[in-house]
């Protein structure tokens, strides 16, 4: 039976994440926005706590953990066979953590996007070998952004090692992580099918962090440029199959995104809710409250705007839950994942920016966090596939067009 209220079983998890966000992340939110590139040492303790929680099984996937389709059986099903599992738990807890601070969530030790990739595609041996690492994800290059099939970094097999050469930019947590998952091509003539991902431990000769970026937002999170010069890694560090299957093409690598896009949607949803919650409170103190029963046109412009933002927010939130719920129930969710990210990304920007406008100089000043959230939200409509890439994916799916037809 259709019920779109929050799953009851995750109430404790969400409550816990909310408390962490409120009491651990918010107090240091401005500190690391100012102190860009300073290591948020407070997070070490938090990470240890999260690890403890996941070992006890209480977290239900509290971080940016990857999600496997084949894990099955772990969560109990309802009589009708519907599952509320790890994917829903992840998006809901990430929403809460990003209500606290997006940059700090992205800096959580051992919760990197590379960890998602490892969790999603590693075989049993690799899963064991890379358990407990902190892995950043290196895809983007100076000349290659959205068209990630076009990357120039190469990996050449030499004996039982791959030799990696290339330059990667915008590696989230690239400076702090102890491992990097890097995308490289085995043979640039074979196109996208030859692109594979490799786990490279920090300290491997030939890999170095070149510099850290200075950014508009999420300043608590370090964004690194990483250079690979004849960097040798064991062949066993290739994630997935080493075969270049031109039929399967890029699908394997891109499948990671089906899992991570709802997570980024969750970040946008969480950040936007932070703005919305505070603005609602500030407006209420100024005497503006939304009356849900009365038409927006007979209320103040501020109330009408608040209603519109809340409606957009809830739409994004429900699209996010839908994408996660489908993953939990093993339904293909590529379309819904992109819908969720597209909607959450643009709604996140509109809400955080509009909240600054509504709050006036209170919103624009560093005395409040509204201006920070309006800077943090922008990246969420860019990374893991820009707004335009999401629209492209949705359009191709809805219209049934190939990437050759709809470029």
């Amino acid at each position: 039976m259709i019920n779109l209220d929050d799953p009851k079983k995750f109430k404790p998890l969400v409550g816990q994440a909310h408390q962490v966000a409120m009491n651990m992340l918010r107090p240091i939110s401005r500190k690391y926005d100012h102190g860009e590139h300073e290591y948020p040492q407070e997070l070490d303790m938090l990470a240890a706590m999260v690890d403890g929680l996941s070992e006890s099984g209480a977290s239900g996937g509290a971080g940016a953990s990857g999600v496997r389709r084949d894990e099955g059986g772990a969560e109990e099903k309802t009589p009708t066979g519907t599952k509320n599992g790890a994917n829903l738990a992840s998006v809901m807890s990430i929403t809460e953590m990003c209500w606290g601070d997006v940059g700090l969530l992205l800096s959580m030790p051992r919760q990197g996007l590379g960890n998602s990739a490892i969790a999603s595609v590693a075989d049993a041996e690799q899963s064991e070998r890379f358990a407990g690492v902190w892995a950043g994800m290196a895809i983007t290059e100076p000349g290659v952004g959205s068209d990630s099939a076009n990357i120039k970094t190469t990996a050449r097999l030499d004996g039982d090692e791959y030799v990696i050469n290339g330059e990667k930019i915008y590696v989230t947590a690239g400076g702090r992580a102890d491992h990097i998952v890097v995308w490289a091509s085995l043979d640039r003539d074979l196109g996208r099918a030859a692109i594979k991902s490799f786990v490279v431990p920090k300290g491997t000769p030939g890999m170095r962090v070149d510099r850290l970026e200075h950014k508009l937002g999420i300043r608590a999170s370090d964004t690194a440029t990483i250079i690979f010069e004849d960097c040798r890694v064991p062949a066993a560090n290739l994630l997935g199959s080493p075969e270049v299957d031109t039929k399967q093409g890029f699908a394997g690598a891109m499948a990671t995104f089906d899992n991570t896009r709802p997570l980024v949607a969750a970040m946008a949803v969480g950040c936007a809710r932070a703005s919305l919650d505070l603005t609602r409170d500030l407006l209420a103190k100024a005497g503006v409250e939304v009356d849900y029963d009365r038409p927006a046109v007979v209320q103040s412009a501020a109330a009408a705007k608040l209603l519109q933002m809340e409606s957009d927010w809830e739409g994004a939130y429900l699209l996010m839950l839908q994408a996660a719920w489908m993953a939990d129930n093993r339904q293909p969710n590529s379309l819904e994942a992109s819908m969720a990210k597209a909607k959450a990304g643009r709604v996140g920007s509109d809400i955080t920016l509009s909240c600054v406008e509504l709050a006036g100089s209170v919103g624009y000043s560093e005395a409040e966090l509204l201006e920070k959230w309006a800077r943090d939200s922008k990246i969420l409509d860019i990374f893991e596939g820009t707004q335009q890439i999401q629209q492209l994916i949705v359009a191709r799916r809805v219209l049934g067009l190939s990437s050759g037809e709809l470029k």
Partner: protein, 455 residues
């Protein structure tokens, strides 16, 4: 009336009241007056005007409401009527799968919408009338009794807001105007099922569960700008034997045929619902055709000192019943918008793939394809918002916030879908050869219409 004020342009024909005429304007106005003069007709220069008869296709013609059947009084006025049980969810599990019963119902209604509503939609829109066969078929699939508990002759064991929402969506995909025409009687029945006393249920519901289901309408909207459904200008005043109703209701579906109305009126400052039979003295109906939803034969309902009995109040007089009614009605309009939005998406998708410009399908262009993508994204968000509100309504939870959020999305994004749908067809979207212009007009109803339908 002086000549000057007669020639004052403001306030009529869509001209703002601040406008004034310059000498050229006065000359043109005079010429126009002459052109409209009966003098021309007397010398045989023009065909005789049509006789002024009541029609729902034009406003300005008033007539008495239809004579209602005799609703035989039965049951106790003092006793609460039968009430549907709140639906039970499975331990708060997030779930997007419809129940088996709901799915079966949706399948039946979808077939009806595709095979009966859609083919009849264009003509019904022109005629401002739902064909008899369409209305008959709606009875066969049980639309009027959908929201009624079994104990009073209905089909639902539990509160059926979710089923009603899915059904309204499916009907809206067929045609919004016909959907409103076919849902209107059931909406009144559902309201009586939800809030009626035993006497009201036993008096009126047998007619809805029988073979000759009366036309009936939930009349909440009023013809005023910035209309607030919770503050109706229609006034109910107490008399020694009941209440006296005074006011005008607008956009009332099939008001000329309706035998029973549920009318919203302010009783001592609190909005309240009243059951009004169409034979009541002082009721008259006027055609009120609108931009869209035309197949629902929209009318204005005039209440000039209509006297109803003590037992005419439906539900509570503290405003709670009225507010719930408004919310459930908005929920139904959201569902209709989702259905019509889906119709639009399903129509433009093959169109942009087959229509060629510059040597290839226009769907191969991002500006076109992204528009379709955004329709799909916002439509799904509208649907989820609507389902969330419906799920809460069905389980007896407060859903005032959820339905407000759904309504906001369905109003704004729904209209955007109407706008983009026409745009995607270009000039072809503007002509009646394609249904998209009708959906454009229909989608504007959401956010404007209050009442008429309810789940």
């Amino acid at each position: 009336m002086s000549l000057l004020s007669n020639l004052k342009p403001g306030g009529r024909h869509g001209v703002p009241s601040g406008e004034s005429r310059d000498p050229v304007g006065l000359l043109v106005a005079g010429l126009n007056r002459l052109a409209q003069s009966e003098l021309l007709d007397r010398v045989g220069l023009r065909r005789p005007t049509e006789q002024a008869v009541f029609t729902v296709t034009r406003s300005g013609f008033s007539t008495l409401t239809t004579a209602s059947r005799t609703f035989a009084r039965a049951g106790s006025v003092a006793k609460t009527g039968a009430r549907p049980q709140a639906a039970t969810t499975q331990r708060g599990v997030f779930d997007l799968t419809p129940s088996e019963d709901d799915q079966m119902l949706v399948d039946v209604v979808t077939e009806y919408a595709e095979e009966v509503l859609r083919p009849a939609a264009g003509e019904a829109d022109d005629a401002c009338e739902a064909p008899e066969a369409v209305l008959k078929a709606s009875l066969e699939i049980g639309l009027p009794i959908l929201g009624l508990p079994e104990s009073v002759g209905g089909i639902s064991e539990e509160r059926s807001a979710m089923a009603g929402t899915l059904v309204a969506e499916a009907l809206g995909k067929g045609d919004m105007g016909l959907a409103v025409a076919t849902l209107a009687p059931g909406s009144v029945a559902t309201a009586i099922g939800l809030w009626g006393t035993e006497a009201q249920q036993q008096t009126y519901l047998p007619a809805f569960t029988g073979d000759e289901v009366p036309a009936a309408a939930l009349a909440l909207t009023e013809p005023s700008v910035l209309f607030d459904a919770l503050a109706p200008a229609t006034i109910a005043s107490r008399t020694s034997e009941g209440y006296r109703l005074e006011g005008v209701k607008s956009l009332v579906p099939r008001g000329d045929k309706a035998e029973l109305f549920v009318v919203g009126a302010s009783l001592e400052g609190t909005p309240t619902l009243f059951l009004v039979e169409s034979s009541a003295a002082g009721l008259s109906v006027e055609g009120d055709p609108a931009m869209g939803v035309r197949a629902a034969s929209l009318t204005k309902l005039h209440l000039d000192g209509v006297v109803v009995g003590e037992d005419a109040v439906l539900g509570a007089t503290d405003g709670t019943t009225y507010a719930e009614c408004v919310r459930l009605s908005r929920l139904a309009w959201c569902a209709l918008a989702v259905g019509t939005g889906q119709a639009m998406l399903d129509y433009v998708t093959p169109y942009v793939k087959s229509r060629e410009a510059f040597g290839e399908p226009i769907a191969h262009r991002q500006s076109v394809a992204f528009m379709v993508a955004n329709i799909a994204i916002e439509l799904q968000a509208m649907r989820l918002l609507t389902y969330k509100a419906a799920g809460r309504a069905a389980t007896g939870k407060d859903f005032s916030r959820e339905v407000a959020l759904a309504r906001k999305a369905c109003t704004d994004k729904g209209m955007q879908i109407g706008l983009d749908g026409v745009q995607l067809l270009g000039g072809h979207g503007f002509v009646k050869e394609h249904p998209v212009e009708r959906w454009y007009r229909d989608l504007r109803a959401v956010g404007v219409m209050e009442g008429a339908v309810l789940v």
